[in-house]
Symmetry: C2
Subunit: 174 residues, 2 copies
């Protein structure tokens, strides 16, 4: 059975829909989703990077993220034909471990907790495919990286790209 590793933030968890209003409220700004084209908020406001990371690192920041459209139904179908792992780069925000684990338990109860991986360097993953919004994680990854579109990666090239979960279904569930 082929194995698919799937990232969390901006792939199954809608990070930016919380990030943008949280950032605007905390730092008295008024950015929109369009401003993120090609950038992360930290790249747009490098002088605020450490304060932004403090906000993200708060233990409950990840607790109430929305689920990315169609990710639940497509992953449920994928899990019948593939070995599915959720692989999230939690090491930059160690305060987020428990919230991320509970979020997965709540929204993806059909994923075996033993198939959840918190890591930093994703080259450690042994999988056939890695679906991720950060192309840097494909560096050294032994399988095929599949780039999930997010505002910050709009200009990234060189990888197979999917724009939504229906495109992933078309790719893997034909």
């Amino acid at each position: 059975m082929k194995r698919i590793a799937i990232d969390m933030d901006e792939v199954i968890a809608d990070f930016n829909s919380k990030m943008v209003p949280s950032f605007n409220q905390r730092f008295a700004k008024s950015i929109t989703h369009d401003d993120l084209d090609g950038h992360t908020i930290q790249q747009l406001f490098p002088e605020l990077k450490s304060d932004i990371n403090i906000m993200i690192g708060e233990s409950d920041f990840f607790a109430d993220l929305s689920v990315i459209v169609d990710s639940q139904s497509v992953i449920k179908q994928l899990s019948e034909r593939y070995d599915i792992f959720i692989t999230t780069a939690a090491m930059e925000f160690p305060g987020s471990f428990t919230a991320k684990f509970l979020w997965l338990e709540k929204h993806f109860p059909f994923i075996d907790p033993m198939n959840i991986v918190f890591c930093g360097n994703k080259s450690i993953l042994h999988a056939d495919y890695l679906i991720d919004d950060n192309a840097r994680h494909f560096n050294g990854f032994s399988g095929e990286g599949i780039l999930f579109s997010a505002p910050h990666n709009a200009q990234v090239e060189g990888f197979r790209r999917v724009n939504n979960w229906q495109e992933i279904a078309a790719l893997f569930l034909r």
Copy 2:
């Protein structure tokens, strides 16, 4: 550079030296380390398994474990010649994530946090070697499993076995 994945509990963190007295105190027992020969405490007292797991799952249980003799100095030397990852099966005790992360930061500050992995099913690891006290983690692992001796695995056969960190040094630092 070859990659070595190293487990935490009973390999670099001395779990049993805390577990035995903690168990005796909490459950009014008087077991010794010798009683563990070939078993975990949960196997010796199956009727207490869920209560024992509650104790282990408390957020600070892992915070003050001692360091296994010679693990720091040998891993420091290994890290100059190998790509080292710490790979710990934290998913059974999600309350332990932060304590384990802080423990590693305190006792193994030379390990890049990006090279820490919390997982359940270790077949997801892409490494040449996995040093672990639980042989079940070698099932499906693509590299070579090296069994680190612990009381519970005394009767396990079929894998290269090391009894201490000096034996690991002899194996990898010749």
